[in-house]
Each structure stands twice: as structure tokens, then as C-alpha cells.
């Protein structure tokens, strides 16, 4: 008897099965895309040490009330003006820091009634319990933007030569750090630390009052 060839398996429905699986994965999964503002909370301090006295001129107060209005340095302000006001405050450099150094990289007005040195300048933010989270985030965003603007400026001044093609030097540095996270580059990390030290982020948040 002649041996018959085995009949071919019909693969026509294979595509349907694969499509079914594909659609299942499309529905049950999300593409990773979380981004946000990274902040550090202050640790709880139980010690009885007196907090250091901060001069009023080194403090930039931002209050947000329950109607989402801003009160900056005792004056009402629109959100769009906040970034510039914060930059002017941080960049003022009116006097010296704790080590007695003047701020030679500041380009501000050197107004003696505003902050002494970026080392000393503190932004203090306080909000009401009824403030909306959206407004709170917008204000945080503007204040972080002020720091990023100044750090970008310093990165431009100090390290432009290493990144001739980049639009934003500081961003390019951070992106490179991110890319090399498994093989840390000490020189690059040192440069980033250096820039962060020029404008240390001192953003304090006060507890809202119970009302």
C-alpha cells in the first residue's frame, strides 16, 4: 500500500488566536509613563534644640489661601509672576553666606533688603487645608522651575564646553546621568553636585492650620 502524505495542519486560524492574545494584552496593560516632582520630606525632629533664627529677608513666603489665591511676601500675586519673583529672590546675593563669601555668580539686583546668598535663601510655602491640589502643584512647579532656571544658567556658564550641541546643558547632564546609572560617572556626578550646591533647593513647607 502506498504511504499517504500526512495532511497539512490548517493554520488559517492561527492569526485569529494571536489577535485575541494581542487584544487581551492591549487591554490589560498600560505603557509605563509616570513622571512627577520628586521632593524630600523633612525628618521628624523630636530634639529640643532651638531652631536657628532665620532673618526675614532670607525668607520668601508663599501663602495659598482657600480660594487658591497667592500671597507672596505679603503681596497678592498671579501664578504667572511667581517664577520670576522666586528667581529674583534666589539670585539676589545681597550679602555673604555663612562662610563669609559673597555670591560672585549671582546676577540679581544685590538688594540688601532681599536674600543674602543662595545658600541662605529659603522659600517657605504654606497652604490652607481647603487649597486645591491642582493649585498646590502649580505653585510647587513654579518654584522648582525657578531653581531649575538658575541651575541651568550656571550649567551653561560652567560646562557648556562639554555639551556644545545640547539645548539645555543641565538637562543634558541629568539625562546622561540617567543613561549611565549602572556605571556611575564620578566626574559627571561631581559636576551635577557642584551646580546643585550653587543653588541648593531649600523649599520648606509649613503644616496647614487646622481650621
Amino acid at each position: 500500500m502506498a504511504k499517504r502524505a500526512a495532511p497539512e495542519v490548517n493554520a488559517g486560524s492561527m492569526a485569529d488566536i494571536a489577535f485575541l492574545l494581542l487584544i487581551f494584552f492591549l487591554v490589560t496593560t498600560t505603557i509605563e509613563k509616570d513622571k512627577g516632582l520628586l521632593r524630600s520630606l523633612p525628618p521628624i525632629d523630636d530634639s529640643e534644640v532651638e531652631p536657628p533664627i532665620i532673618k526675614q529677608k532670607n525668607l520668601f513666603t508663599v501663602l495659598i489661601n482657600r480660594r487658591n489665591q497667592l500671597l507672596v511676601e505679603d503681596e497678592q500675586m498671579e501664578l504667572k509672576d511667581l517664577r520670576q519673583a522666586a528667581i529674583e529672590f534666589l539670585d539676589n546675593g545681597g550679602s555673604t553666606n555663612a562662610a563669609g563669601e559673597t555670591c560672585d555668580y549671582c546676577k540679581g539686583k544685590r538688594d540688601p533688603s532681599s536674600s543674602d546668598h543662595p545658600d541662605k535663601a529659603i522659600i517657605s510655602m504654606k497652604h490652607d487645608r481647603e487649597t486645591s491640589y491642582e493649585q498646590y502643584m502649580d505653585v510647587q512647579n513654579e518654584l522648582v522651575a525657578a531653581y531649575n532656571f538658575l541651575r541651568e544658567r550656571e550649567a551653561e556658564r560652567l560646562y557648556r564646553r562639554y555639551y556644545p550641541g545640547a539645548d539645555n546643558v543641565y538637562k543634558a547632564m541629568l539625562a546622561e546621568k540617567e543613561k549611565n546609572q549602572f556605571t556611575p560617572d564620578t566626574i559627571l556626578n561631581g559636576r551635577i553636585e557642584n551646580i546643585k550646591k550653587l543653588f541648593p533647593m531649600k523649599l520648606s513647607e509649613a503644616e496647614p492650620d487646622d481650621s
Partner: protein, 154 residues
Amino acid sequence: MSKFKKGKSGDLPAISTASLPDIVFMLLFFFMVATVMRDSSLMIENVLPSADQVEKLKKDRTAFIYAGKPSSSFSQLGTEPVIQFNDAIISVEEVQASVLAAQAELVEELQPKFVVGLKVDKNTHAGLVSDIKQELRQANTLKVMYIANARAEQ
């Protein structure tokens, strides 16, 4: 002459679909690799605020806390904003224990770098957020990330 015309009918040959499964499998594997499983279903409204100074979040060291008003299908929870952690609604007092449990589940070398991602609805009042932050301070998990939608810089 007829020799050459033999066997030629006027019909077009059918397009072979034999490679279609391969193409679809390729797509399937792409999506399997590029995406993650949705890990918890939300019981609250969660429209994130937007910000332009955002940084990327490293997912391997993060636990998420959600907050917002209960969504319409969970209206038995009331109308006041609540906190959701994983799949359960928790009270403010439970935040500390939940976060510490999440931290303990991480790989040991990532535990000191633990970050709490706050996914808070933009219509929530900020008082709830500061309650959560106060709890996080007590749990000594001090790195927080306010998750936001990225928008273009003005």
C-alpha cells in the same frame, strides 16, 4: 502556441496569509515587553495635575498612594476624598503601616531608596495631602514624588 497558454486561468492567485500569524505574534511580543500589567483597579477619580518640571519615576522602588473622591460606581464610600492603597481604601492612620509593608517587600538594596508616588486627583483639597505627608514622615519614608502629567514648558 497553445503549449505556452496551458494551465493559465484568468484568476489572480490568492494572497498568502501564512505569514500573518508571525506578524501578529511579533506585535504581541512587543506589547508584552513594553507594557506592564495594570496592578490595581481604582475606586476613586484620579485626574492628575500637570507640571512641566517633571522627572522620571523609577518604578522598581515605588509604592503608589492614590487619593481622590470616590468614583461614581463606588458612591457608597461618600463624597469626601479618600485614600486608596493597592486595592483597598485606607484611613489616614493606616498609611504608615501600609507604606512600611510595601517598603519591606522590596529588594533589600532598593529599600533605602524607597519612593512613595502620590497620585492625587487635582480636585482634592491639599489638606489631605499634608495629612498623608505627615504620616510618611512618621514612617520615615521621606522621598515622595507628586505624580503629574507632563506638559510642554511655556
